[in-house]
Amino acid sequence: MAVETAPAPVVEKKKEPLFSKKNIRTLRDPLDDNNPITVQVLGICSALAVTVQVKPALIMALGVTFVTAFSNLIISLLRHTIPTRVRIIVQLIVIATLVTIVDQVLKAYMFDVSKKLSVFVGLIITNCIVMGRLEAFALANKPWPSFLDGIGNGLGYGLILVVVAVIRELFGSGTLLGYQVVPQWAYDMGYVNNGLMMLPPAALFIIGLYIWAQRSWNKKLVNVS
């Protein structure tokens, strides 16, 4: 872990502009070059579970983005004060608090979605992406870049979730966000929804295909793993 010597963990805005090239990179990298799901291969489990429909996938993406962004921010602000021996526990407390807040807010304002996401909201706590970013980034960087890194990783995760969910909902139930997309005449002519798309393995196939496609357009990734 890189040890920083900066004095106070306050947002410093002297030299670097808020959206400097480096910060933009921090934000954009996780969307493609360093995508948490397809490149870092983290957070696969919830990607399989909540991608049957687009709406829960979107909410889950927002939830994870909120948690990664703010846990990164908080841990980065606290990074000089956290006792090294209990740092994992401190990280967990911060993550668990944020996730519980997300869960409670969903239960209060989006009850149906919270029922669909059921245990997976709680499981954001153990989502490897969150803690992975804290350990790899927030503990060694200033609050603002950490916050951007959190948002970037949350969005990178969300991007895959939504792509997979769109494919699964479209071919699995013929709808998108609950609206009928495949017209009735197609069914009348013998079109049938693909039942496999409703099952978790479909997500695995789609993520696999996505990784294949991504690596064929982004040559940088080919020898990474």
């Binding site: 004060t81 956290i82 006792p83 090294t84 021996r85 209990v86 526990i89 401190v90 407390i93 911060v94 668990a96 608090t97 519980t100 807040i101 409670q104 807010v105 239960k107 209060a108 304002y109 009850f111 149906d112 029922k115 245990v119 099952l199």
Partner: protein, 241 residues
Amino acid sequence: MHSNRYTLMYATAISVLTAIILAFFSESLKPAQQANVALDKQINILRSVRLVNADRKQVQEIFQRRVRKLVVNNKGEELAGLDPDAIVLKDEVNKPAAERRLPLYIYTGEDGRKYYIIPTYGVGLWGPIWGYIALEDDFNTVYGATFDHKGETPGLGAEIAEAEFQEQFRGKKIMSESNTFVSVRVVKPTEKTDFSEEHRVDGISGGTITSRGTDAMLKNCIEPYLAYFEKQKQSLPSSGK
């Protein structure tokens, strides 16, 4: 390296701080959450009479206009002054039959027909299961049923919450030809039984314990209402068979 004292103080401080934050969120969001749970119950009750409606306002409005709530006991008497929504089914289902307070929801359809909705509560594999079963005004034919669960295995026991399973209940009978109580039984399709086809629905493959739990729940929760139904039948001869 930080000292033990610092580490301990830090851990204590952060625990207390997060506890306060969480307590604040939990308390301030509680009213909205409870309203959601109550609304969810109404949605499920209406779903058992085949009304699927996700609009909050409409659900509340329909519920208020068309659903009568009452509490009865196993002698068929109406218990006045009790709010069925305040009765905790979990506590009631294990009491001796004579002490059970039985909430009942009566839904009056557009055409004036009445449907009697019985709330049910039982045990699945990992946790509680519950549901609502609606009977037509012959007090025998099932009009619709809906079930839900706390934590049954997705794809196995959790299938009781799916339409495919619930739709099987439509048109089933709870009384035999000789007017004895059979309930609707959840059994294996191949199981040999001494009750006829109109009392059985197919259990879930891989969800045997949840299926049996549903079966036991229905029997336990419908039976005590029979006395009340019997009385209703006598007072409303026109709706008899």
